[in-house]
Symmetry: D2
Subunit: 143 residues, 4 copies
Amino acid sequence: MKYYDRKINYYETDQMGIVHHSNYARFFEEARISYMDQMGYPYERLEAEGIISPVLEISCKFLHSVRFGDTVRIEVTTTAVSKVKCSFAYKVTDLATGELKARGESEHGFITRDGKPIILPKEKPEFYQLLLNEFEMSDAGIK
Amino acid sequence: MKYYDRKINYYETDQMGIVHHSNYARFFEEARISYMDQMGYPYERLEAEGIISPVLEISCKFLHSVRFGDTVRIEVTTTAVSKVKCSFAYKVTDLATGELKARGESEHGFITRDGKPIILPKEKPEFYQLLLNEFEMSDAGIK
Amino acid sequence: MKYYDRKINYYETDQMGIVHHSNYARFFEEARISYMDQMGYPYERLEAEGIISPVLEISCKFLHSVRFGDTVRIEVTTTAVSKVKCSFAYKVTDLATGELKARGESEHGFITRDGKPIILPKEKPEFYQLLLNEFEMSDAGIK
Amino acid sequence: MKYYDRKINYYETDQMGIVHHSNYARFFEEARISYMDQMGYPYERLEAEGIISPVLEISCKFLHSVRFGDTVRIEVTTTAVSKVKCSFAYKVTDLATGELKARGESEHGFITRDGKPIILPKEKPEFYQLLLNEFEMSDAGIK
């Protein structure tokens, strides 16, 4: 299981006194980038090779508030891999108490700098294989 | 149909050269607050009356990139109303070309400052009725 | 006098219940981009011509809090122009009451996409002249 | 010397391909909150005791660009302490190369939740003494 721990910043709160919901997409991104580092294919490498990975879809359910000073643990799993895109799931818990705070999902494409979609197994076979390995390690079943 | 037009800021771009996806939750919030103004019950009034409205769930599909200098139109509709929560849908188009850029949804609860859920028809009947009117005007059908 | 009016968003507040101070640099940027539009040389045009304009220095004094729902007016003036950089001053007032909320300044360079500084009067003479005109219209005196 | 190390996030970049300048105020805040933790008086404690600390003034000079994936070290020093406010300086260097990236300063007041300024030595003597100790340890000289 791969995870990323993150302390909440003051500027991430809003006047409700809790973390503004728009920040979760940012936490997911941080966790996803750490996940790719841990997986052995940093996102920086993809971009250095001329590939960018736009977000196609994102969702999040907010179960309990997160506050300034809290540290959350974000677990990332690969929930789908195809030749042109992949999906990740995120589980956000309080590091101290284990309370489930939020759950989310995101889907990602892979394109060249000028917007041409790429075929992962053909153009990034090493990355594709690593994604498949992650998918198999997850409990997401076959898709 | 209620909508909100919004010019994209430079600081909302990322190094892909497009608007960072986390900003759409912020655009939705701006559009929703304008929607409540247009509906006749500003969000400021709810908070002044001691009610806050946390986001319970949010999702967004990104269809085409939005860039610095673009202006988007965000249409908001009420897609569900219950005694304790409500949902909105968002349609983001390019103001100049009409191209569909993104679609999203969000769900919202209503609680007191100290976290107690409220029953809308009982405790905020005027607001509840306005939401129901919006829901009926939408093409969302009965839920 | 050129100015830019801006309504404060909910997501720009923090748990103090006021606008988080980091947003002022963003308001200044919005006002500066509107100022360049009004001046007749949109920032988009500079970038389309291969020039980017990094911020070299920024400062802000915060006099009174700004809150969700407030609208601020940001006046921009050109306070210095040289062959390689320029400076702007910002005055933020409450649109409704006229109360002075904040004052700021920023300094900007001009470089090519690969980081080479450019000589404005030589490489962007029209833009340089417009900046000089703005500077002369300001009450900033000679620098 | 107290410092705070911080990896740059993707969402902190803009379409220039560098960190957007507005984020430095956020990095300073993170570093300042870590500094108060290290000093032995967490900012959370101040707020729990009913005191908030608005930013009165902030400035930053940007010397070299910072990019996604970089890690910066932010050194914080106390540069002024009075009975009602204090100032900090920030030095941002690249953790890997030591290159100086930016320098900044901020000034902070201390008020109650309802906006009344407090006299630090009288109302928060322990915190005031810790600030004075920090100031004396700094090379800022007497102010």
